[in-house]
Symmetry: C2
Subunit: 334 residues, 2 copies
DNA sequence: GTGTTTTGTTTAAACGTTTAAACATGCTAT
DNA sequence: ATAGCATGTTTAAACGTTTAAACAAAACAC
């Protein structure tokens, strides 16, 4: 991006009066003990002066390394995916790696395509947020020992590499905190689904309640996905009906919290702040609410970084052991 | 990703009893008129059976095409960037292109690095959301006629390729709409900055006011970046002081809207809905507010798609003319 | 039946690196 | 003097494609 004609090893060699091989050695810092210092300096100087940029294709063809990894997400436009992507990008940069991205829209066929295209493009590794039913695809990677790691989700029946959030602890910790705050009549608003994430979150809530001797009868409102807004409204009003002295509400994810807050504000449900509100997931809009909301923050940084680091050591061939991490997030108490 | 050993042209050739060249021709659909149909079919069948995947490096080395473009954003974790990225990803997929992403954090040195690394990685083109003071870098690209296009921002002093949102119309249209709704005492909350975006947004507001014979004295509250939350609060209360009959508030961007809504809700400023609220930028949390908020929606799809299409035609060498588009968004009236 | 064109296929160089192996020279030890 | 070693550099093959050019055989023209 500066010289008219692409400068290559040959040009440096000619200019420095050495062979192409020597230039390559010097520029890659190989055989340092063998090469005369002055020669090395001279070569480096020339390379710099000519603004040499190695040809990625030629290099890759020989080394079979692209210094690029593929990142397969559910949907890049989704803040969760985007944040994760950013963290991964930054971590990869430390290793001088680039990142090719793609979204699956939760479709296994798209995931398969992306894996195909990316491995084809010779990425050195893959970080995958897997869709449902994509086990077969991952099995393939696993079997040929292609460097990969799953994030955010895993398949409990398979020995895959993964780094995920502990969804159970998300609600377990928040509920514990509510109980610690002397709340007894807690309502839990979640989504009606078999998705592992939410099953775990429900389990976390129930477990914390049981441990505290609170029975969970009628406390859990599961909202159908298609009608979140009205669902949340109905859910909260139903809770209020069953428990007139409701003193806490826990929302299983940010979108539910949003509709929950909307309903609460609109119906002036909580002007005396007798109901403590907690949430899973971080969200900007919590600030809108009059009182601070304590929430469970997913360990995104840790997740992204661990995934990258594992992948890197796998690629560099350092340690070939597996990784299976379930990371706990933290309670942001406010 | 399925055979143990990577299958290459040579293997197909052997299996099909032809030369490597012929295989290459067939697989690339070249010399179709010359090659015997049966031979072609046979070769294709073998390629399929062996699950042949061309080696990206070797191919690139010869063709100098990577079928990859670089996307340089401000911050992938920012929903605006992420949405744009997703749109661009989708549009590029239609052309069978992949995308390498990077964030600048609004730093010109990072932008330079990314341009370096990406062009080095032999991307076929670049889509750049430029930071301030990155003109020099873009000049370089422009001069060597490297396929690129700027998005969201441009430099009015340079003949660069760009596709951007019309920031002026964002506030112009919303203000016009307010006036159409018979609002007369309009307050405008914006950020104190010289950034082109916001200068334009201010200009749009002022122009719409002037056209309607409304004087803008004291109507514009410019908030310093470091203290948005308190700034917005002070701004609104000051407006209320100067205009006790304030009947509309326009926010120049989503974060301001958020703090604005917080203040309004907290101070029960707008229970009778005598103040109409409008905003620039789409945001999920608008739904929290009791009354629907009309907003200006940036033409993200159009922006991303036009940028990609231009780049593609540039890369394919079709039409070498420039592009300089200022796209109008739409008012989402609610 | 010879020259030309058409049809079908192959040869071989090239793309820009990396790297094992060879080479050359000087030094050391005997 | 000479083998052996250390130091410094070069030669040349290889990576897996693409593609211009050459070649061969068949079909056509006259």
């Amino acid at each position: 991006m500066s010289e008219r004609k692409k400068v290559q090893l040959k040009d440096i060699a000619k200019e420095a009066n050495v062979s192409v091989a020597l230039v390559s050695y010097v520029l890659n810092g190989q055989h340092q003990n063998r090469i005369k210092k002055e020669t090395a300096e001279r070569i480096k100087a020339v390379a710099k002066r000519l603004n040499y940029r190695p040809n990625h294709f030629a290099k890759g063809l020989k080394t079979q390394k692209s210094h690029t990894i593929g990142l397969i997400l559910a949907d890049l436009a989704n803040p969760f995916s985007a944040q994760l992507a950013r963290i991964i990008e930054d971590e990869l940069k430390k290793y001088n790696y680039n990142v090719l991205m793609g979204s699956t829209d939760e479709r296994e066929d798209k995931l398969k395509d992306l894996v195909d295209v990316f491995t084809n493009q010779q990425v050195d590794g893959l970080i995958i947020l897997p869709t449902e039913n994509s086990e077969k695809e991952i099995v393939q990677l696993h079997e040929v020992d292609f460097p990969y790691v799953l994030i955010d989700r895993y398949f409990s029946d398979y020995p895959f590499n993964f780094v995920v959030n502990d969804n159970h602890s998300s609600t377990y910790l928040t509920t514990k905190q509510l109980i610690k705050n002397k709340r007894k009549k807690i309502g839990f608003i979640t989504i009606e689904t078999d998705l592992f994430h939410f099953v775990e979150r429900k389990r976390g809530f129930v477990e914390a309640c049981i441990e505290a001797g609170i029975d969970t009868e009628n406390r859990i409102q599961e909202i159908r996905f298609g009608q979140l807004e009205t669902g949340v409204a109905v859910g909260i009003s139903r809770l209020k009906q069953v428990f007139p002295d409701l003193d806490a509400l826990l929302f299983a994810t940010d979108i539910l919290t949003m509709y929950g807050l909307k309903y609460i504000i609109q119906h002036k449900l909580n002007i005396t702040n007798d109901i403590e509100i907690m949430a899973v997931d971080e969200a900007k809009f919590y600030d809108i609410y009059s009182t601070p909301i304590t929430y469970y923050k997913q360990p995104l940084e840790e997740m992204g970084q661990k995934a990258v680091r594992f992948l890197m050591s796998k690629i560099e061939g350092n340690n070939p052991d597996a990784i299976q991490e379930v990371l706990k997030g933290q309670l942001v108490i406010r």
